[in-house]
Structure formats: structure tokens, C-alpha cells
Subunit: 288 residues, 4 copies
């Protein structure tokens, strides 16, 4: 018998960097985490312990910081495109670079003015929460693929959502309802038709489309909501080829107050983390 | 030898509930986690296994949900005052109720209108991040103490902060600077002079005062910033007796680009989680 | 334009259950978390909001508990095979069931005897840490695939590991070494040649083989260690078709004591969580 | 009005270090995290931004690593005593040093021998889980206090535990039982009568006493179990002055199978994380 290496890759994960962009009257501030993964002619590293083709992951890390110094950071997509290109150009043994970038969001603090109005401060920021703006760059000698995404977009509607007409069997205990809380920690990713896109503008449009659509329909199920979100994005954004959504159903379970002689008119809920429904779907344009 | 029980308490933690407040044209949505801890005549529970005076923690949990149904939730402070009173009144063996309440913040989603402006949606919400609005209620037969707080207020300034003139010894490697990033995950708590306060209004004033002060001074150290924040709160809010601040120093370390022949003009940083500076202080009014 | 649903699945995640197996003189205790994901004829659920083919995820959850009552839990693999079969048999609209099972490990507590020796207690257990024993069952109308794995096997060697002869470029700062700490939180998964295997015995052999091999070789790189681990497993276990290993390099960085006039002879290290190297490989038998 | 600083402290948290102790035929490996907090003459740092008395937290960090090089690490208590002494002696402005130390546990891997027995490996280790061995050192110019503890000792018994005869009120839904799972993530801390103790030996005795006592009694409540654990420790260990235990009740809730026509004879449970009971008690010797 002989052992064959049928797949391999390696890289550095969780390379976090921050950049201050210093403009005449104010600063911008960006914070990004990068995962790098390389494939290529690395078999002898595994099978023979021969490191001569290994770009150390420590060097990858250093490269990210140097690249952050010398390149603009207008969008994670453009930064990722250029960083992937760097690794490919300088490492002939590498056939494929995959980067995952995630931007942590900071927003400018509004400070009080004498007249009780407020004004954005030039160099003070507050975290915008757990939502992350992501990009996935896949670059080979032949091809460049750019995908973008949003992670941890935590949204909730208190009505205009139901769940009825499903299968009942011996283990069914769930009650049908035409008025429930629908909450999800949306994770979505979309693929672009090209690589020269106004990525920031596209992301803003997609994000707002998701919020608008989520708010403004009656949801028969998380499944149907996923489809409507994907459909709306494809209709609004011709530059998007495909949208993938994963929506955990973050259950808010009505608390049984009837036991205490009270009526719970969809008012009091138990938020639960586990277990959770997990629904996903990918939407693209039909060929016709 | 005999073993003495010198201190004891018990209760239920992480009782999470959500409430929809249904108004004619829109819903409000609140989500709160409660920790309950009781003290009283419980020695025989420990020493003799006699449960006759034990209010089960499961019943405490149920009580929170019932109380959420029957009582307003305008502020965590008012809800907590009333819940603590319930436990005290209905359990003669209890001498002291301590409640910790933490509100998770949701904000109304802004949806697009036909004219490209936006409008708040009546029943759709988006998470406002990790910031929590807290209250700590301590109620005995004789006394009611109300404290409030803010947890995980993650703020950052890109300049107007330095650190110089400190002690140098054999293990000093830190360089002095008059221009650094100052970032902190502020945790603060304040005690009120009374228990009948417009708590929500007070909290908004305190929060904005913290943001304004953090933005608008040159910081010589986290210590000095803590003092200035506390001082500003005490000046703005006569109803506040005392302010306690814990400010981890979330270090953004300049990346050493000089090794690569580049200059890092305070542009590129490594955000780090560990280790972290931890600075705290309590400020109150002088007696004079 | 029309929007097409090109992929979809749904299910329940993090269904946690525990089971006491009551034997004459002692109890066994098992704790398992299950993720269920179904594929099938669900398009109209997404595109038309028609729920008539939906088995609610709440019912999936109930089914797990009922199945845990009526079926043995000798191994997560056998339990998963049977649970997947249940979903397939009772839901004609389902074409593919995928289950991920993860067993949390408890070990019997050793209690003291009068003679200062110790003995396993019949019904008291202590957590065996974060290591999880996993299985992934993929079942269609035509096929049953069983994979098993180990997650979070946190191992470390203080020597017999180096990293040399790698590429040096303009961003290299890492120093070569032939004596470093090698630590990893091993995540591995293997596929079986069949579905009727003594899974527990196989897992024990694989786990011990990984520990033996990790301990007893000089590592030129994480890559090479991955290959050797995979190779050893394939040699020991003919029932295994393929082994996939993901090994984060949990860096222990020598602390620079030279600045203080001290010598760090590989004694004092900074354990770091981020960033981390991430190396993976899949090994199988050659066809010859 | 004037603002007074009524309390302050500062320091470095989460200073993690590892040490290889190189002995002739094998290595020992220790991993420890330290939190340092100083009090003293620091008022002008807060009120005037005068840093001349500030030992930077970065220097504290460096000091830990240097101290780890020059001092033995036989126990976290002895290391902590000596580190606290260092800070006090070299910083006249400091009046009080508080250190929290937590050792992460690694155990030697057992590797296979040719005869199918196994033997401890000289330099390979496996994580012993989340249990931490802690110490808290409080040192002033006048006094040295040493406390030790165990965190995250996750234990469970499948029987010999009940909960009955408690208060019933309008919100009671819990059913009485004389046979339930009792599980807890024990966090305990004890204070010593002196500072010259065989700390490792003492800790081993305390830990085994806790396991023995937890296993070998019928528990009427978590409260009673806490008392028995504390009492047993005080009886076994004359060097211990006081024991404090916090025991979350990690509920395993019997799943309601009766709805499906099945009987749950204490076999199938839902492990839950939230909400959880939280019970604490402090036990010491009576004065007589």
C-alpha cells in the first residue's frame, strides 16, 4: 500500500489589521481580518518534509501589513484582489490563492453641539455591532472570482410572519400560527458577474434591499423569505450572478402563561439559542 | 470542629425574555436578561437539606415571565424595582433581593421609500450591537438601591491620545508617544441618589456625555480619561451619586514596517485582544 | 428575468440530548448534539410559500428525542445511521438526509477507597474536556456514507519539531529553528469503506495512532506531520478509505528575553490564539 | 462641586505564558495566565494626567515573562507570591498588589508500546480540558493573603439527587423528584491559614475530596451539596480557613415523551445552558 496526498492547502488565518486613513480634516478608520489559503506544488512538503517551496505563514502575515501600507483600502474586494495577485505573482509554486476578508464596522460618533444638535466627530468611532462585511477572492493563473457577503446581520420582525399547513406526524407538537416573531442572523454571500464593480455601492444596495424586503412581505416560512430576498437582490443588481443565503431561525417561543390563568396574546417570549432551524438557499437567474 | 455557613445566596441566572408592546400603528420590541439572587433565612437548606423555605429557581424564572406580562417595561430599572418588590413581599424568609437586568438593544429598521428617502418601519428591527443597558436593584426590607449601567460600549479615537513620562525600569520596552489609538470596551455603572428618577432620560444623557467627553479631550492616559468621563457625568447629572468605570485598554499596536524599509506614520496597526490593560476608577462628589 | 432556486436545504441544528443507560450495577451516560439537514422536493416551499411538504424543524427535534428513547446509543455512527433512515423512510419528499453528530465526552470519576487506592464510581462522571467524537451520515435512496471524526484534540510537543529551509523574501522575519513547540487543535475526519464497522473500536485505534505518531517523529513542518498521521491511520486501519486533517498551528512564540540581558533557551513562550497557521491535507490509498 | 476619586486600580490582564522545564530525560510543560492589579498613590494620574508614578501595564507584562525565566514554577501560588513581592519592592508608590493566576492543565500523553501496554511520553502532552487551577495573591506592605481555587470542574451524577418539599406558589410548575441528574460546573476558592503551605498537595487533596463527596452522598439540593463539599474540605485540610463554592445548576431536563405514548423513565434529557440556577455558599470553622 502507498499513501497518496489527494488534497492540500495551507495558509494564515485571523490576520487582523487596522488602518487610519488620514485626510486633511478627518480620519477614516478601517479594521479587517484576513484568512489566506494557498494551493500549488506542495506535495513534497507533506511527503518528504522538504520546505523549499514553503512561503511561511508568518511571512504571509507580514505581507498583509506591508500591503495594507502600500495599497488603498477603499473596499475589502479591491484590497483582496490586489493581495491575491501579489501572492500569485511572487510565488511560482502557487496555483491558487483564496482569501477571505471580513471588515469589522465602525461608525463615526455624533457629538453634541451647543445648540443641542449633533455633528459627526472627525476622529472618534463607535462599533457598529457584530455585522461583518466580507469578501472571498479566488485567484488562479487563469481566473479571478470575486464574491462578497454580509455576516451576522441580526434582524427581527414582530409580525407579518406565520407558519402553517406543514406536515403533521406522530412527533408533531408545534402549533400553527399566522402571527409569530421571525428573527434571523442572516449570513449571505453573492457572486459577481465580473471583477470590476463598484463593490461598496453594490453592497449598500444589496443590504438595503434585504432590509426592505424582509420588512415588507408576509413570510409563510423562512424558506420563502430566503427566496424573496434573493429574488429582490437579483432584480435590483444586474452585476450579481448568484445569491446564497443561510438564515438560522432564531426562535422566540411564546411563554405558556395560560398555566397561570393569564393570556399570552403574542406578547411574552422566550428567546432561545439552541436548537435552531437552519435554512439555506441559492438563487440565480434562469438561462432564458 | 464544626462547619459554619458564613455566607450564602442562590437564584436563577440568564432568564431571558422578550416583549412586544403593541401600539395602534406600530410595535415596540424589548429583550432583557435577568439574574436573580436571594439572601435570607436559608441556613437549614444548606446544613440540613430542608427545602421548606426554598423558592425554586424554576419558579423564579416563571415569575419573571408572568411579571413581564402584567407590568410595564418602560425601563429595566422600573421593571426591576417592581420584580424585586414582588419577591420580597411574597417570601417572608427572604431578606435581600438582588437583580441584575441587561437590555439587548434593537433599533427600528429604516426602509426605503419611493423617493429614495427612508422611513422607520413599524415592526421590523435590527440589532444595535453588543452594547447592553443594565440595572442592578438591591432591595431589603429597609432599603432600595438602584444602580444603572452600560456594558460593552466599544469606542475608539484615532488621535488626541498619548502616553508619556511614565516610569522606566529594566523591563521597559514600550515607546513614549503623543499620538496613539485609544480604544476601549467601556463598562460603567452609576448609583442614583434616589429611586424615583427618569431613568431612560438619565441614561441617554450619561451615554451622550461619555461619547462627547471621550471625543473631545486629549488623553494623557486611560486613567485620566476615566476621571474626565466620571467628572463630566457628575456635572451633568445631579441625580447621580457615584460613577464607576472599568476601561480595558484595547491595544492597537503599530506594526513594525521599518524592517521592510517602509515608514509606519501611525497608519497600520495590529488589533490585539490579549493581554489588555485594565483600568478602573470610581468618582463621586466631594462632601464640601 | 426569472429567479431560479439552484440549491436548497433545511433542518435543525444543535439538538442536544443526554441519555442514561441504566445497567444493573452502574449507569452509563452519553451526551450528543445533532445537526440535521434535509434535501428533496422543496422548491415550492421557497418559491410559492407552500408548506405542505415541510417537515417542521421542531418535529425533527422531537424525533431525535423519541429515537434516543427507542434506539441504542452504542456509537454515534449507528445511532445516526438509524435516525437518517427514519427520516428517509417517513418522508417521501426527502431525497437526502445529512446528519452531523458530536458526542461530548464524560469519564467515570475515580473515588477514593479506604486503602488510598481508587475505584470508578457507578454513577458519577467528570467532563473529559473539549474533545468531541463526531460522525457525519449522508443517506440518499441509493447510498449510505459514513464518516467519523475527532474534533478539538488539543495536543502539544515541546521538542522534536523544527521549521527550516523555507522561502525567504523581502517580508521574512521568522527565524529558522530545529527545536520549537508544536501545538495543534486537531480536527480530523475519515471516511469508511463500508457502513458495517465496529466504529468505536476503529475510533479508538485511530485516536491512539494519532497520539503515538504525533509523539514519535521529528516534525519538519505541520504539513509533514499531517501526512505522517494520515499515513499511519491508513496503515493501521484497512476499513478507512480516506483521512482528512485540519491542523491549526497554535503558535507558542519564544519571548524575547535578550532585551533584558537574559537568555531564552527555549524555555519561556507566549501562547497566542491569533493569527494562526491553518494547514490541511487529505490522504488516501493509491490505486496500485 | 468637586469630583473626588474614591477608588482606583489598574493593571494588565490575560498575560499568558508557557514554560518548558527541561529535565534530563523528560520535559514538564506549564501554561499560566496572570491578571495583575495595582493600587497605590495614583490619584494624580487620574486627576492631573501626571504619569510619573505609572508603571506601564506593558512593563508589567514584560516582568511576568522575565520572572518566569528566573523563578521556579512549581505552583502558581509560589510563583504568584514572588511576583507580587517583586512589584511591591520595586514600586514604592504601590500599596497593594493583587494577582490572579490560572493554570491551564496539560497531561502527559500515553503512547503505545510493542506489547500493547502504554507508557507516558517524555515531551508530548494533551489538554486536560477546561478545568483551571487558580490562585489569588493579595500582598500589601503589611500582609500576604493566599487563596487558591479550581474553576470549571464539570461534574455530573446520574442519580442520588432529588429536589422535594420546596415552596409551591401560583407560579410553580416544577415537579418534585427523588431521582434527577445533578450537574455543575464547580467554581471554588479557598483561603489558607498561612502562606507557607504545600500548595500542590493541598489542592490535590481538596480536589479529590470534592469528587469523593459529590459522588458519595444523596443530594437534597445543590445548597446541601455545597455545604457537604465545604464541610468535607475543612475536615480533611486543617490548613484551609474558609471555602467558597459557586455551583451553577446545569439543568438536564427530562424530555416529555409521554406526548408520543412513550414513557421516559429518567432516560432521555435535554441539556440546557440557559437559564441556570446559581447557588453559592461560604463555609468556615466555628470559633468554638
Amino acid at each position: 500500500m502507498q499513501t497518496v496526498l489527494s488534497q492540500n492547502s495551507y495558509g494564515k488565518s485571523a490576520v487582523r489589521f487596522a488602518k487610519i486613513i488620514r485626510r486633511p480634516h478627518e480620519h477614516d478608520f478601517k479594521e479587517v481580518a484576513v484568512n489566506i489559503q494557498l494551493e500549488g506544488d506542495f506535495e513534497s512538503v507533506y511527503t518528504e518534509g522538504d520546505n523549499r517551496k514553503v512561503l511561511p505563514t508568518d511571512t504571509m502575515k507580514n505581507t498583509v501589513y506591508a500591503h495594507a501600507k502600500t495599497h488603498a483600502l477603499d473596499s475589502v474586494e479591491e484590497f483582496g484582489k490586489s493581495l491575491a495577485q501579489y501572492f500569485l505573482q511572487n510565488n511560482p509554486q502557487v496555483s491558487r490563492v483564496q482569501l477571505e476578508l471580513a471588515e469589522k464596522l465602525w461608525q463615526r460618533v455624533a457629538v453634541s453641539k451647543a445648540d443641542e444638535s449633533s455633528t459627526p466627530h472627525p476622529h472618534t468611532f463607535i462599533s457598529a455591532g457584530n455585522e461583518k462585511w466580507t469578501s472571498k477572492i479566488t485567484r488562479t493563473r487563469e481566473q479571478l472570482l470575486v464574491a462578497s457577503g454580509i455576516e451576522n446581520l441580526l434582524i427581527l420582525k414582530t409580525t407579518d410572519s406565520g407558519f402553517e399547513n406543514y406536515i403533521k406526524d406522530q412527533y408533531t407538537t408545534l402549533k400553527e400560527t399566522n402571527d409569530r416573531i421571525l428573527a434571523s442572523d442572516v449570513n449571505m454571500q453573492w457572486r459577481y458577474a465580473g471583477a470590476d464593480i463598484d463593490f461598496n455601492r453594490s453592497r449598500q444596495t444589496i443590504r438595503q434591499t434585504v432590509l426592505d424586503t424582509f420588512a415588507q412581505h408576509y413570510s409563510y416560512s423562512v424558506q420563502q423569505t430566503i427566496y424573496l430576498l434573493g429574488q429582490a437582490v437579483l432584480e435590483k443588481c444586474p452585476e450579481v450572478l448568484e445569491v446564497h443565503l443561510v438564515m438560522p431561525n432564531k426562535h422566540y417561543i411564546p411563554f405558556d402563561l395560560e398555566r397561570f390563568g393569564m393570556e399570552n396574546r403574542n406578547e411574552i417570549f422566550v428567546p432561545t439559542d439552541e436548537p435552531f432551524g437552519r435554512i439555506e438557499g441559492t438563487m440565480k437567474r434562469s438561462l432564458r
